[in-house]
Protein backbone atom coordinates (compact mmCIF):
# COMPACT_ATOMS: atom_id res chain seq x y z
CA UNK A 1 0.00 0.00 0.00
CA UNK A 2 1.42 3.32 -0.95
CA UNK A 3 0.40 6.77 0.12
CA UNK A 4 0.22 8.27 -3.34
CA UNK A 5 -3.51 8.12 -3.56
CA UNK A 6 -3.64 10.09 -6.75
CA UNK A 7 -2.05 7.14 -8.50
CA UNK A 8 -4.80 4.89 -7.27
CA UNK A 9 -7.81 6.96 -8.09
CA UNK A 10 -7.90 6.07 -11.77
CA UNK A 11 -8.97 2.54 -10.97
CA UNK A 12 -10.95 3.26 -7.88
CA UNK A 13 -14.48 2.14 -7.40
CA UNK A 14 -16.54 0.25 -4.90
CA UNK A 15 -14.44 -1.83 -2.57
CA UNK A 16 -15.79 -5.02 -4.07
CA UNK A 17 -14.64 -3.94 -7.52
CA UNK A 18 -11.02 -4.09 -6.44
CA UNK A 19 -11.49 -7.20 -4.35
CA UNK A 20 -10.84 -5.51 -1.04
CA UNK A 21 -13.29 -6.12 1.74
CA UNK A 22 -12.46 -4.37 5.04
CA UNK A 23 -14.76 -6.56 7.10
CA UNK A 24 -12.50 -9.63 7.36
CA UNK A 25 -9.68 -7.28 8.36
CA UNK A 26 -11.89 -5.61 10.93
CA UNK A 27 -12.86 -8.98 12.33
CA UNK A 28 -9.27 -9.52 13.41
CA UNK A 29 -9.38 -6.55 15.82
CA UNK A 30 -11.03 -7.52 19.11
CA UNK A 31 -11.72 -3.96 20.19
CA UNK A 32 -13.55 -3.21 16.95
CA UNK A 33 -15.56 -6.42 17.06
CA UNK A 34 -16.59 -6.10 20.70
CA UNK A 35 -16.23 -2.48 21.74
CA UNK A 36 -16.78 -1.30 25.28
CA UNK A 37 -20.44 -1.15 26.33
CA UNK A 38 -21.34 -2.87 23.05
CA UNK A 39 -21.81 0.55 21.50
CA UNK A 40 -20.84 0.66 17.84
CA UNK A 41 -17.33 2.03 17.52
CA UNK A 42 -16.29 4.01 14.49
CA UNK A 43 -12.59 4.37 15.16
CA UNK A 44 -11.17 7.20 13.06
CA UNK A 45 -8.24 8.17 15.27
CA UNK A 46 -5.70 5.89 13.65
CA UNK A 47 -3.12 8.63 13.15
CA UNK A 48 -2.92 8.86 16.94
CA UNK A 49 -2.92 5.13 17.66
CA UNK A 50 -4.05 2.23 15.53
CA UNK A 51 -5.87 -0.74 16.98
CA UNK A 52 -4.12 -4.06 17.57
CA UNK A 53 -5.03 -7.29 15.75
CA UNK A 54 -5.42 -10.57 17.57
CA UNK A 55 -2.21 -11.87 15.97
CA UNK A 56 -0.19 -9.21 17.78
CA UNK A 57 -1.97 -9.79 21.08
CA UNK A 58 -1.29 -13.51 20.71
CA UNK A 59 2.39 -12.94 19.98
CA UNK A 60 2.83 -10.74 23.04
CA UNK A 61 0.92 -13.16 25.25
CA UNK A 62 2.92 -16.09 23.90
CA UNK A 63 6.16 -14.30 24.65
CA UNK A 64 5.19 -13.15 28.13
CA UNK A 65 3.74 -16.51 29.16
CA UNK A 66 6.35 -18.80 27.61
CA UNK A 67 9.58 -16.91 26.92
CA UNK A 68 9.72 -13.95 29.30
CA UNK A 69 13.28 -13.26 30.32
CA UNK A 70 15.94 -10.65 29.86
CA UNK A 71 17.87 -10.68 26.62
CA UNK A 72 21.54 -11.02 25.75
CA UNK A 73 22.64 -11.60 29.36
CA UNK A 74 21.79 -15.06 30.57
CA UNK A 75 22.38 -18.41 28.93
CA UNK A 76 19.39 -20.33 30.19
CA UNK A 77 16.74 -21.50 27.77
CA UNK A 78 14.28 -18.74 28.52
CA UNK A 79 16.91 -16.08 27.93
CA UNK A 80 17.93 -17.70 24.67
CA UNK A 81 14.30 -17.80 23.54
CA UNK A 82 13.75 -14.18 24.54
CA UNK A 83 16.91 -13.12 22.75
CA UNK A 84 15.85 -15.01 19.64
CA UNK A 85 12.45 -13.34 19.75
CA UNK A 86 13.93 -9.87 20.29
CA UNK A 87 16.51 -10.20 17.55
CA UNK A 88 13.92 -11.82 15.33
CA UNK A 89 11.79 -8.72 15.72
CA UNK A 90 14.77 -6.62 14.72
CA UNK A 91 15.17 -8.72 11.59
CA UNK A 92 11.47 -8.30 10.80
CA UNK A 93 11.74 -4.53 11.10
CA UNK A 94 14.78 -4.55 8.85
CA UNK A 95 12.89 -6.60 6.29
CA UNK A 96 9.88 -4.27 6.44
CA UNK A 97 12.12 -1.26 5.88
CA UNK A 98 14.30 -3.07 3.32
CA UNK A 99 17.30 -2.12 5.44
CA UNK A 100 20.68 -3.40 4.37
CA UNK A 101 21.20 -5.02 7.76
CA UNK A 102 19.31 -5.67 10.98
CA UNK A 103 22.21 -3.93 12.72
CA UNK A 104 20.81 -0.70 11.35
CA UNK A 105 17.66 -1.08 13.45
CA UNK A 106 17.71 0.48 16.91
CA UNK A 107 14.76 -0.18 19.21
CA UNK A 108 13.56 2.81 21.20
CA UNK A 109 10.49 3.54 23.28
CA UNK A 110 8.80 5.33 20.39
CA UNK A 111 9.24 7.70 17.48
CA UNK A 112 9.75 10.67 19.79
CA UNK A 113 12.53 8.82 21.60
CA UNK A 114 14.13 7.96 18.26
CA UNK A 115 14.24 11.59 17.16
CA UNK A 116 15.54 12.62 20.56
CA UNK A 117 18.25 9.97 20.33
CA UNK A 118 19.50 11.50 17.08
CA UNK A 119 19.18 15.02 18.46
CA UNK A 120 21.33 14.05 21.42
CA UNK A 121 23.87 11.83 19.69
CA UNK A 122 24.15 13.60 16.34
CA UNK A 123 23.94 16.88 18.22
CA UNK A 124 27.15 15.96 20.02
CA UNK A 125 28.94 16.07 16.70
CA UNK A 126 27.81 19.61 15.83
CA UNK A 127 29.47 22.95 16.47
CA UNK A 128 27.86 26.30 17.26
CA UNK A 129 26.64 27.84 14.04
CA UNK A 130 25.98 24.52 12.33
CA UNK A 131 22.53 24.43 10.79
CA UNK A 132 19.58 22.06 10.81
CA UNK A 133 16.57 22.45 8.54
CA UNK A 134 13.14 21.61 9.95
CA UNK A 135 9.69 22.68 8.75
CA UNK A 136 6.42 24.26 9.78
CA UNK A 137 4.76 20.93 9.08
CA UNK A 138 6.48 19.00 11.84
CA UNK A 139 4.97 17.21 14.77
CA UNK A 140 6.44 18.69 17.95
CA UNK A 141 8.46 15.50 18.30
CA UNK A 142 10.52 16.51 15.29
CA UNK A 143 10.82 20.13 16.31
CA UNK A 144 11.24 20.46 20.06
CA UNK A 145 14.30 18.14 20.28
CA UNK A 146 16.06 20.39 17.75
CA UNK A 147 15.05 23.52 19.63
CA UNK A 148 16.48 21.94 22.78
CA UNK A 149 19.68 21.14 20.89
CA UNK A 150 19.81 24.75 19.73
CA UNK A 151 19.58 25.90 23.35
CA UNK A 152 22.34 23.48 24.39
CA UNK A 153 24.72 23.81 21.50
CA UNK A 154 24.17 27.07 19.68
CA UNK A 155 23.17 25.47 16.40
CA UNK A 156 20.91 27.36 14.00
CA UNK A 157 17.47 26.11 13.01
CA UNK A 158 16.18 27.05 9.60
CA UNK A 159 12.51 26.48 8.89
CA UNK A 160 11.01 25.29 5.64
CA UNK A 161 7.57 26.86 5.10
CA UNK A 162 4.34 25.10 4.24
CA UNK A 163 2.25 25.71 1.15
CA UNK A 164 -1.39 26.76 1.24
CA UNK A 165 -2.25 23.12 0.46
CA UNK A 166 -0.48 21.90 3.58
CA UNK A 167 2.63 20.40 2.00
CA UNK A 168 6.27 21.32 2.27
CA UNK A 169 7.29 24.27 0.12
CA UNK A 170 10.26 22.52 -1.43
CA UNK A 171 10.89 25.43 -3.76
CA UNK A 172 12.17 27.27 -0.71
CA UNK A 173 14.52 24.48 0.32
CA UNK A 174 17.62 25.38 -1.72
CA UNK A 175 17.77 28.83 -0.15
CA UNK A 176 17.79 27.26 3.33
CA UNK A 177 20.65 24.90 2.57
CA UNK A 178 23.94 26.61 3.25
CA UNK A 179 27.45 25.25 3.69
CA UNK A 180 26.89 24.89 7.44
CA UNK A 181 23.80 22.71 7.05
CA UNK A 182 24.42 19.35 8.71
CA UNK A 183 20.95 17.82 8.79
CA UNK A 184 17.55 18.12 7.16
CA UNK A 185 14.95 16.72 9.56
CA UNK A 186 11.47 16.51 8.01
CA UNK A 187 8.27 14.58 8.23
CA UNK A 188 7.72 11.84 5.67
CA UNK A 189 3.99 12.60 5.84
CA UNK A 190 2.05 15.13 7.86
CA UNK A 191 -0.05 13.99 10.81
CA UNK A 192 -2.43 16.90 10.10
CA UNK A 193 -2.69 17.53 6.38
CA UNK A 194 -1.71 14.03 5.32
CA UNK A 195 0.63 15.53 2.73
CA UNK A 196 3.48 13.26 1.66
CA UNK A 197 6.98 14.59 1.29
CA UNK A 198 8.84 14.36 -1.99
CA UNK A 199 11.80 12.62 -0.39
CA UNK A 200 13.77 12.36 -3.61
CA UNK A 201 13.83 16.16 -3.95
CA UNK A 202 14.77 16.63 -0.30
CA UNK A 203 17.62 14.15 -0.45
CA UNK A 204 18.98 15.58 -3.70
CA UNK A 205 19.04 19.07 -2.23
CA UNK A 206 20.56 17.95 1.05
CA UNK A 207 23.30 15.96 -0.63
CA UNK A 208 24.39 19.00 -2.61
CA UNK A 209 25.56 20.59 0.66
CA UNK A 210 26.66 17.35 2.32
CA UNK A 211 23.82 17.32 4.86
CA UNK A 212 22.30 14.17 6.30
CA UNK A 213 18.54 13.57 6.11
CA UNK A 214 16.23 12.35 8.88
CA UNK A 215 12.62 11.45 8.20
CA UNK A 216 9.89 11.27 10.82
CA UNK A 217 7.99 8.29 9.47
CA UNK A 218 5.43 7.95 12.26
CA UNK A 219 2.50 8.52 9.91
CA UNK A 220 3.95 7.01 6.77
CA UNK A 221 5.02 3.62 8.07
CA UNK A 222 1.44 2.37 8.60
CA UNK A 223 0.93 3.00 4.90
CA UNK A 224 4.04 1.19 3.72
CA UNK A 225 5.82 -0.64 2.25
CA UNK A 226 9.00 1.26 2.96
CA UNK A 227 12.40 1.05 1.32
CA UNK A 228 14.91 3.08 3.24
CA UNK A 229 17.66 2.22 0.79
CA UNK A 230 15.64 3.57 -2.11
CA UNK A 231 14.72 6.65 -0.09
CA UNK A 232 18.46 7.16 0.42
CA UNK A 233 17.99 8.95 3.73
CA UNK A 234 20.27 8.59 6.75
CA UNK A 235 17.84 8.24 9.64
CA UNK A 236 14.22 7.05 9.73
CA UNK A 237 12.06 7.07 12.87
CA UNK A 238 8.68 5.53 13.63
CA UNK A 239 6.45 4.20 16.40
CA UNK A 240 5.00 0.74 16.86
CA UNK A 241 1.60 1.79 18.13
CA UNK A 242 0.64 3.49 14.88
CA UNK A 243 1.36 0.38 12.84
CA UNK A 244 -0.86 -2.07 14.74
CA UNK A 245 1.78 -2.82 17.36
CA UNK A 246 2.07 -2.21 21.10
CA UNK A 247 2.82 1.05 22.86
CA UNK A 248 6.29 1.65 24.22
CA UNK A 249 8.23 0.53 21.17
CA UNK A 250 9.69 2.55 18.34
CA UNK A 251 12.49 2.35 15.85
CA UNK A 252 15.40 4.44 14.81
CA UNK A 253 16.76 3.11 11.56
CA UNK A 254 20.11 4.58 10.62
CA UNK A 255 22.39 3.84 7.72
CA UNK A 256 25.36 1.87 9.01
CA UNK A 257 27.86 4.67 8.46
CA UNK A 258 25.53 7.24 9.96
CA UNK A 259 24.96 5.21 13.14
CA UNK A 260 28.64 4.31 13.43
CA UNK A 261 29.51 8.01 13.49
CA UNK A 262 27.29 8.70 16.50
CA UNK A 263 28.37 8.64 20.13
CA UNK A 264 26.07 6.87 22.58
CA UNK A 265 23.15 8.71 24.11
CA UNK A 266 22.21 6.85 27.31
CA UNK A 267 24.79 4.90 29.30
CA UNK A 268 24.56 1.51 30.98
CA UNK A 269 23.40 -2.02 30.22
CA UNK A 270 24.17 -3.55 26.88
CA UNK A 271 25.58 -0.43 25.26
CA UNK A 272 29.12 -1.10 26.53
CA UNK A 273 32.02 -3.08 25.21
CA UNK A 274 34.31 -2.80 28.27
CA UNK A 275 33.98 -0.85 31.49
CA UNK A 276 36.76 -0.05 33.96
CA UNK A 277 36.69 2.42 36.78
CA UNK A 278 38.55 4.82 34.57
CA UNK A 279 36.76 4.54 31.26
CA UNK A 280 34.20 2.80 29.09
CA UNK A 281 34.34 1.73 25.50
CA UNK A 282 31.10 1.25 23.65
CA UNK A 283 29.37 -1.48 21.71
CA UNK A 284 28.78 -1.18 18.01
CA UNK A 285 25.34 -0.16 16.76
CA UNK A 286 22.60 -1.01 17.35
CA UNK A 287 23.42 -1.98 20.95
CA UNK A 288 25.40 1.21 21.45
CA UNK A 289 22.04 2.97 21.52
CA UNK A 290 20.05 0.43 23.56
CA UNK A 291 21.09 1.11 27.14
CA UNK A 292 19.27 -0.83 29.82
CA UNK A 293 16.77 -3.63 29.43
CA UNK A 294 14.96 -2.95 26.19
CA UNK A 295 11.18 -3.18 25.61
CA UNK A 296 11.36 -6.87 24.73
CA UNK A 297 7.72 -7.92 24.59
CA UNK A 298 6.88 -4.70 22.79
CA UNK A 299 9.53 -5.44 20.18
CA UNK A 300 8.09 -8.92 19.74
CA UNK A 301 4.68 -7.34 19.30
CA UNK A 302 6.01 -4.88 16.74
CA UNK A 303 7.55 -7.72 14.79
CA UNK A 304 4.24 -9.54 14.80
CA UNK A 305 2.44 -6.36 13.71
CA UNK A 306 4.71 -5.80 10.75
CA UNK A 307 4.42 -9.44 9.69
CA UNK A 308 0.64 -9.20 10.00
CA UNK A 309 0.51 -5.98 8.00
CA UNK A 310 2.87 -7.26 5.32
CA UNK A 311 0.53 -10.21 4.78
CA UNK A 312 -2.49 -7.98 4.08
CA UNK A 313 -3.68 -6.86 0.66
CA UNK A 314 -1.96 -3.53 0.99
CA UNK A 315 -2.58 -2.40 -2.58
CA UNK A 316 -6.27 -3.16 -2.20
CA UNK A 317 -6.32 -1.36 1.13
CA UNK A 318 -4.72 1.72 -0.44
CA UNK A 319 -7.43 1.90 -3.06
CA UNK A 320 -10.07 1.34 -0.40
CA UNK A 321 -8.63 4.12 1.77
CA UNK A 322 -8.47 6.50 -1.18
CA UNK A 323 -12.15 5.84 -1.82
CA UNK A 324 -13.04 6.38 1.85
CA UNK A 325 -11.00 9.58 1.91
CA UNK A 326 -12.88 10.86 -1.11
CA UNK A 327 -16.18 9.88 0.54
CA UNK A 328 -15.18 11.88 3.61
CA UNK A 329 -13.99 14.92 1.66
CA UNK A 330 -17.13 14.94 -0.49
CA UNK A 331 -19.29 14.47 2.59
CA UNK A 332 -17.67 17.45 4.27
CA UNK A 333 -18.26 19.51 1.15
CA UNK A 334 -21.92 18.50 1.12
CA UNK A 335 -22.29 19.32 4.81
CA UNK A 336 -20.79 22.73 4.27
CA UNK A 337 -23.18 23.41 1.40
CA UNK A 338 -21.05 26.24 0.09
CA UNK A 339 -21.30 28.27 3.29
CA UNK A 340 -17.57 28.26 3.90
CA UNK A 341 -17.89 27.08 7.50
CA UNK A 342 -15.83 23.91 7.08
CA UNK A 343 -12.24 24.46 6.09
CA UNK A 344 -10.00 21.56 5.13
CA UNK A 345 -6.49 22.08 6.50
CA UNK A 346 -4.48 20.77 3.61
CA UNK A 347 -5.43 19.68 0.15
CA UNK A 348 -9.17 19.16 -0.38
CA UNK A 349 -8.31 16.56 -3.00
CA UNK A 350 -6.67 13.18 -3.30
CA UNK A 351 -3.32 14.68 -4.17
CA UNK A 352 -0.51 12.47 -2.85
CA UNK A 353 -1.62 12.14 0.72
CA UNK A 354 -2.36 9.77 3.53
CA UNK A 355 -5.98 9.01 4.49
CA UNK A 356 -5.92 11.80 7.06
CA UNK A 357 -8.39 14.67 6.88
CA UNK A 358 -8.18 17.58 9.29
CA UNK A 359 -10.70 20.38 9.20
CA UNK A 360 -11.70 23.47 11.14
CA UNK A 361 -15.33 24.49 11.59
CA UNK A 362 -15.81 28.20 11.91
CA UNK A 363 -17.45 28.86 15.28
CA UNK A 364 -17.06 25.32 16.66
CA UNK A 365 -14.15 24.22 18.79
CA UNK A 366 -12.64 20.87 17.72
CA UNK A 367 -12.92 19.46 21.24
CA UNK A 368 -16.62 20.21 21.30
CA UNK A 369 -17.02 18.65 17.87
CA UNK A 370 -15.06 15.57 18.94
CA UNK A 371 -17.16 15.27 22.10
CA UNK A 372 -20.39 15.28 20.13
CA UNK A 373 -18.94 12.75 17.68
CA UNK A 374 -18.04 10.54 20.63
CA UNK A 375 -21.70 10.51 21.49
CA UNK A 376 -22.27 8.98 18.06
CA UNK A 377 -19.64 6.32 18.72
CA UNK A 378 -17.15 8.08 16.46
CA UNK A 379 -13.59 8.46 17.73
CA UNK A 380 -11.67 11.33 16.13
CA UNK A 381 -8.95 13.64 17.36
CA UNK A 382 -9.64 17.26 18.18
CA UNK A 383 -6.91 19.74 19.04
CA UNK A 384 -3.59 20.96 17.75
CA UNK A 385 -2.25 17.45 17.03
CA UNK A 386 1.14 18.39 18.51
CA UNK A 387 1.63 20.69 15.55
CA UNK A 388 1.08 24.15 16.97
CA UNK A 389 3.31 25.96 14.46
CA UNK A 390 1.16 24.48 11.70
CA UNK A 391 -1.99 25.62 13.52
CA UNK A 392 -0.45 29.10 13.67
CA UNK A 393 0.36 28.89 9.96
CA UNK A 394 -3.31 28.26 9.18
CA UNK A 395 -4.53 30.61 11.92
CA UNK A 396 -6.59 28.03 13.78
CA UNK A 397 -6.47 26.96 17.42
CA UNK A 398 -6.98 23.36 16.43
CA UNK A 399 -8.74 21.07 14.05
CA UNK A 400 -10.90 17.97 14.05
CA UNK A 401 -9.04 15.11 12.42
CA UNK A 402 -10.35 11.86 11.01
CA UNK A 403 -7.68 9.34 10.09
CA UNK A 404 -8.43 6.06 8.40
CA UNK A 405 -7.06 2.54 8.52
CA UNK A 406 -7.68 -0.54 6.36
CA UNK A 407 -10.34 -1.82 8.79
CA UNK A 408 -12.50 1.26 8.35
CA UNK A 409 -15.69 1.03 6.36
CA UNK A 410 -18.19 3.24 4.58
CA UNK A 411 -20.30 3.02 7.73
CA UNK A 412 -17.48 4.57 9.77
CA UNK A 413 -17.23 7.54 7.43
CA UNK A 414 -20.99 7.95 7.24
CA UNK A 415 -21.31 7.86 11.04
CA UNK A 416 -18.69 10.58 11.23
CA UNK A 417 -20.57 12.73 8.73
CA UNK A 418 -23.88 12.15 10.54
CA UNK A 419 -22.25 13.14 13.82
CA UNK A 420 -20.81 16.25 12.24
CA UNK A 421 -24.24 17.27 10.99
CA UNK A 422 -25.44 16.95 14.58
CA UNK A 423 -22.47 18.97 15.84
CA UNK A 424 -23.10 21.74 13.34
CA UNK A 425 -26.71 21.91 14.48
CA UNK A 426 -25.80 22.08 18.14
CA UNK A 427 -22.77 24.34 18.05
CA UNK A 428 -23.50 26.83 15.27
Amino acid sequence: MGPDMATNTASEGPASAVGYDPHPVRAQFPLLVAPENDQALHYLDNAATAQVPQAVLDAVTEHETRHRSNVLRSVHRLAEAATDAYEGARATVAEYLNAASADEVVFTSGCTAAVNLVARAFGETLAPGDEIVVSELEHHSNLVPWQMLRARSGIVLRVLPVTAEGGLDLAALPDLLGPRCRLVALTHASNVTGACTDVRAVVAAARRVGARVLLDGAQHVPHGPLDVQALDVDFYCFSGHKVYGPNGIGVLWGRADALAALPPFLGGGEMIRRVTLDETTYADPPRRFEAGTPPIAQAVGLGAALRWFAAQDRAGAATHLARLTRRLLEGLDTLDAGRGRIRIIGAPSLAPRLPIVAFAIDGAHPHDVAQILDGHGVAVRGGHHCAQPLMDRFDVAGTTRASLAPYNTDADVDACLDGLADALGKLL
Binding site: H365, P366, H367, G383, H384, A397
Partner: protein
Amino acid sequence: MLRLAEAGAETTHLDSPDASVTVDNPLCGDRVTIDLRCDADGRVTELAHAVRGCVLCRAATAVLADHAVGSGADEIDAIRARLRARLRDATPLPDDAEWQDLAVFEPVAGHRSRHECVLLPFEATLRALSEVRGSGGTAAP
Protein backbone atom coordinates in the same frame (compact mmCIF):
# COMPACT_ATOMS: atom_id res chain seq x y z
CA MET B 1 -23.72 25.40 29.03
CA LEU B 2 -24.09 26.89 25.56
CA ARG B 3 -25.73 29.99 27.04
CA LEU B 4 -22.82 30.47 29.42
CA ALA B 5 -20.34 29.78 26.64
CA GLU B 6 -21.88 32.51 24.59
CA ALA B 7 -21.27 34.97 27.42
CA GLY B 8 -17.71 33.71 27.82
CA ALA B 9 -17.02 34.15 24.15
CA GLU B 10 -17.37 37.90 24.45
CA THR B 11 -13.93 39.50 24.47
CA THR B 12 -13.31 42.32 26.90
CA HIS B 13 -10.18 44.26 27.84
CA LEU B 14 -9.08 46.59 30.60
CA ASP B 15 -7.01 49.67 29.93
CA SER B 16 -3.88 49.62 32.10
CA PRO B 17 -4.76 46.52 34.11
CA ASP B 18 -2.81 45.65 37.24
CA ALA B 19 -2.06 42.34 35.59
CA SER B 20 -2.76 40.68 32.28
CA VAL B 21 -2.00 37.00 31.98
CA THR B 22 -2.42 34.57 29.09
CA VAL B 23 -2.45 30.84 29.80
CA ASP B 24 -2.48 28.02 27.25
CA ASN B 25 -3.85 24.54 27.69
CA PRO B 26 -1.03 22.39 26.34
CA LEU B 27 -3.40 19.53 25.57
CA CYS B 28 -5.66 21.33 23.16
CA GLY B 29 -4.22 24.77 22.52
CA ASP B 30 -7.02 26.66 24.25
CA ARG B 31 -5.93 30.10 25.38
CA VAL B 32 -7.37 32.36 28.06
CA THR B 33 -6.29 35.94 28.72
CA ILE B 34 -7.38 37.57 31.97
CA ASP B 35 -6.99 41.29 32.70
CA LEU B 36 -7.38 42.30 36.33
CA ARG B 37 -7.61 45.34 38.51
CA CYS B 38 -7.44 44.86 42.28
CA ASP B 39 -7.97 46.87 45.42
CA ALA B 40 -5.37 47.44 48.11
CA ASP B 41 -6.25 44.11 49.73
CA GLY B 42 -5.64 42.21 46.51
CA ARG B 43 -9.30 41.63 45.80
CA VAL B 44 -10.54 41.74 42.24
CA THR B 45 -12.30 44.96 41.39
CA GLU B 46 -12.50 44.50 37.63
CA LEU B 47 -11.95 41.48 35.39
CA ALA B 48 -11.88 41.22 31.62
CA HIS B 49 -11.27 38.18 29.50
CA ALA B 50 -10.48 36.90 26.04
CA VAL B 51 -10.94 33.21 25.31
CA ARG B 52 -9.92 31.13 22.34
CA GLY B 53 -11.34 27.89 23.51
CA CYS B 54 -14.07 25.32 23.64
CA VAL B 55 -17.57 25.56 25.07
CA LEU B 56 -16.37 24.39 28.48
CA CYS B 57 -13.56 26.90 28.66
CA ARG B 58 -15.78 29.76 27.59
CA ALA B 59 -18.54 28.78 29.98
CA ALA B 60 -16.12 28.50 32.90
CA THR B 61 -14.76 31.91 32.04
CA ALA B 62 -18.26 33.34 32.11
CA VAL B 63 -18.95 31.89 35.56
CA LEU B 64 -15.66 33.20 36.83
CA ALA B 65 -16.29 36.66 35.39
CA ASP B 66 -19.71 36.72 37.08
CA HIS B 67 -18.35 35.93 40.53
CA ALA B 68 -14.70 36.94 40.79
CA VAL B 69 -15.18 40.61 41.65
CA GLY B 70 -14.72 40.99 45.39
CA SER B 71 -12.69 37.80 45.72
CA GLY B 72 -9.03 37.46 46.50
CA ALA B 73 -6.53 34.82 45.49
CA ASP B 74 -7.29 32.57 48.46
CA GLU B 75 -11.00 32.48 47.70
CA ILE B 76 -10.55 31.85 44.00
CA ASP B 77 -7.96 29.19 44.73
CA ALA B 78 -10.42 27.54 47.11
CA ILE B 79 -13.15 27.58 44.48
CA ARG B 80 -10.78 26.09 41.95
CA ALA B 81 -9.84 23.35 44.41
CA ARG B 82 -13.51 22.53 45.03
CA LEU B 83 -14.22 22.45 41.33
CA ARG B 84 -11.22 20.23 40.67
CA ALA B 85 -12.29 17.86 43.45
CA ARG B 86 -15.77 17.70 42.00
CA LEU B 87 -14.40 16.86 38.58
CA ARG B 88 -11.84 14.32 39.76
CA ASP B 89 -13.40 12.67 42.78
CA ALA B 90 -17.10 13.54 42.57
CA THR B 91 -16.73 15.51 45.79
CA PRO B 92 -19.97 17.48 46.07
CA LEU B 93 -19.71 21.18 45.49
CA PRO B 94 -20.22 23.17 48.69
CA ASP B 95 -23.55 24.76 49.34
CA ASP B 96 -22.24 28.13 48.28
CA ALA B 97 -24.87 30.33 46.77
CA GLU B 98 -22.39 32.57 44.99
CA TRP B 99 -20.79 29.86 42.86
CA GLN B 100 -23.74 27.54 42.24
CA ASP B 101 -23.32 28.06 38.51
CA LEU B 102 -20.37 25.70 38.75
CA ALA B 103 -22.81 22.82 39.04
CA VAL B 104 -23.26 23.06 35.29
CA PHE B 105 -19.84 21.42 34.94
CA GLU B 106 -20.70 18.29 36.91
CA PRO B 107 -21.30 16.22 33.74
CA VAL B 108 -17.71 16.95 32.73
CA ALA B 109 -16.47 14.76 35.60
CA GLY B 110 -16.50 11.68 33.39
CA HIS B 111 -14.31 13.31 30.76
CA ARG B 112 -10.89 13.60 32.37
CA SER B 113 -9.17 15.03 29.30
CA ARG B 114 -11.49 18.03 29.44
CA HIS B 115 -11.11 18.97 33.10
CA GLU B 116 -8.37 21.44 32.27
CA CYS B 117 -10.71 23.20 29.82
CA VAL B 118 -12.89 24.12 32.80
CA LEU B 119 -10.02 24.98 35.11
CA LEU B 120 -8.01 27.08 32.66
CA PRO B 121 -9.65 30.48 33.36
CA PHE B 122 -9.19 29.91 37.10
CA GLU B 123 -5.50 29.23 36.56
CA ALA B 124 -5.16 32.38 34.46
CA THR B 125 -6.90 34.45 37.12
CA LEU B 126 -4.75 33.05 39.91
CA ARG B 127 -1.60 33.75 37.93
CA ALA B 128 -2.80 37.28 37.36
CA LEU B 129 -3.48 37.73 41.07
CA SER B 130 -0.05 36.34 41.82
CA GLU B 131 1.42 38.84 39.41
CA VAL B 132 -0.38 41.66 41.21
CA ARG B 133 0.99 40.45 44.54
CA GLY B 134 4.45 40.08 43.04
CA SER B 135 4.39 43.63 41.81
CA GLY B 136 4.15 44.70 45.44
CA GLY B 137 0.78 46.34 45.38
CA THR B 138 -2.15 47.40 43.34
CA ALA B 139 -3.23 50.27 41.23
CA ALA B 140 -6.53 50.56 42.96
CA PRO B 141 -8.20 53.90 42.43
